[in-house]
Point group: C2
Chain length 356, copies 2
């Protein structure tokens, strides 16, 4: 288990930072809680200032950094929710009545969260477009990425004990970048009335690095004004917008640039909401923001928005165009919070396998 510093990695177990880092998973460390997290960050700082040897980044092996418990995905970008509403429900108000009252979210599949670098097979599934008489089965024709940030629970909570906003930092260790791969044709056909299922559950990629909240303190800024004001249980004191510059690279071309500070619902609001019914937390639970889209053209965090469901293909540097992802495409998500570079999320699309 290592701590990344620029292009080098500090081997935490080898440098005496605790036997807990001999584990192949961060979970035992995550469960120790905030004072242990802060203590380790201080001691890492000492080691680095003392000139500790670093392993070159290219020699470190990327793994899934923690064992994922439950995975929840929110829908916290006003711009993304509005865009998707227009595309999926063209005859209705794009933003449903509940959207500004609570952070809409759903459970994804924790068991298919994978580390940056793992390839993604094009999923097969059932779809039926408006032009089809009956559903068809086959490889998805609308494979997409979603640019998201997720937070990782270190210290769990017991059933029946909602987590209050003021204790967010006692439960949450840090953040990861998330690519919530999505098959839009499968999703559009299956998602009513119980939400996304197979259109999302084939793979969700996260960065191999978890960035501790302790390294991001200077990046918390005021979040957007919420109108109407949310119910009292969702009011969390402090500045919880997170100023992280984000970009999406598609086969060598930057196709989107945005920033997470524009998200309407903040991380503490998401956590308060997800536990206000008494749901417990466990070490390794992952809560993702939902696709992060800005309001400017070129700041949308998914292809379905960037190409308006394929109606306006984007052009790449080699002259080719894309509506959705093609086999062989590589997607890289990157994030930077001032001096702190978040671990990238990289994945290449492999052709669908036939059944059998």
């Amino acid at each position: 288990m290592g701590f990344r510093i620029g292009q080098g990695v500090l081997d935490l177990a080898a440098h005496g930072l605790g036997a807990v880092f001999a584990s192949p998973s961060l979970n035992p460390f995550l469960a120790l809680g905030r004072s242990a997290w802060e203590d380790v960050l201080d001691r890492i700082d000492e080691r680095v200032k003392g000139g500790a040897d670093l392993v070159p980044l290219e020699l470190a092996t990327a793994h899934l950094p923690f064992t994922v418990g439950d995975y929840v995905d929110f829908y916290s970008s006003l711009e993304h929710a509005t865009n998707l509403g227009r595309l999926f429900r063209p005859d209705a108000d794009p933003l449903l009545e509940n959207w500004r009252q609570l952070p809409v979210g759903y459970h994804g599949r924790g068991g298919t969260v994978i580390a940056s670098g793992a390839s993604v097979l094009r999923p097969c599934g059932q779809a039926k477009g408006p032009e089809d008489d009956s559903p068809r089965f086959g490889p998805s024709r609308k494979l997409d990425f979603e640019l998201e940030i997720g937070f990782v629970v270190g210290v769990g909570s017991r059933r029946g004990n909602p987590v209050l906003g003021a204790t967010f930092r006692d439960h949450v260790f840090g953040i990861v970048l998330v690519n919530d791969w999505s098959a839009r044709d499968i999703q559009a056909w299956e998602y009513q009335p119980l939400g996304p299922f197979l259109g999302k559950s084939f793979a969700t990629s996260i960065s191999a690095w978890v960035t501790p909240l302790g390294l991001l303190e200077s990046r918390f800024v005021p979040a957007p004004i919420q109108e109407p004001e949310p119910l009292p249980y969702l009011r969390v004191a402090g500045d919880w917008g997170l100023d992280v510059d984000l970009e999406v690279e598609l086969s060598g071309n930057v196709v989107s640039r945005t920033n997470s500070r524009g998200l309407y619902w903040t991380m503490p609001q998401q956590l308060v909401h997800a536990t206000v019914n008494g749901a417990s937390l466990q070490t390794g639970d992952l809560f993702a923001s939902g696709t992060i889209s800005g309001s400017r053209s070129g700041s949308e965090g998914s292809l379905i928005e960037l190409t308006w469901n394929g109606a306006h293909p984007i052009r790449l540097g080699d002259g080719s165009t894309r509506t959705f992802l093609e086999d062989g495409d590589e997607v890289v998500l990157r994030g930077r919070a001032g001096e702190v570079e978040l671990g990238e999320v990289r994945g290449t699309i492999l052709p669908a396998r036939s059944l059998g």
Copy 2:
């Protein structure tokens, strides 16, 4: 870890059935696979015929029998889906166009699956009825049970390898009874467009006993005819209706009696569908049927159906009436497959806690 025989329990570790049963969780045994499962059933049979001592059932402690991985909940009862469609979307076709083409399902919260006997706190949450000008926060006023059967994955699968129907018994160890507690007012307000979230995630109770498929072979019967015929990937040879008599007792009164053989979508179809996109399985994954309702009055598996969303209260033996669950109510689900009694699911409603 024990094996239940009527009103007694065989202590598996003490009777030399394997060190794997010294674990507090069935997961290590589940991961061993079908030949080990069958071998242990044979050896249990020998021990019982040999007159092995049994622990009286009332002296055994009920635990969560396995560590739950991902929890998926389907919507496989035609009668239930039709009833809920009428109640939640009165102005539209009750059954959406996709329902007869694929087993609709979604991911629930694996971390809040609890064992029979654990109490359930009335959840708080946000709701807004058609009569409300704005959303309110408070204890759920429409707390409900859902009668379900779930199957438990023993042997996992790797990402990119869909599970075929013919290998269902190689992956699935057995079944549990499931009470998927539901707060209907929270659910109704939150569930569009991404599906149920806090209305379900506060608790899901399962039986403390997992009934091996190997003990249910004689109970598989033809399932209902499916019209239209599903796509080829969903056609599974054999009889997969499961003939289990089910009942729901509410504070001492049997309020529903039904049978799981009437479920439209079968367990192998559910598993094939859930993995056809390449999603992997892991030991302990739980797949529940969705509420099991029959077509006769008194065969509905939830109060929202039995009381038609509270419009027609049911009367209990003590003269009181119920629309939804009241604090202090105890719900017991029971199942019987011929000679085989499935473990019950018992839970009592405790009053909501205030926040803070």
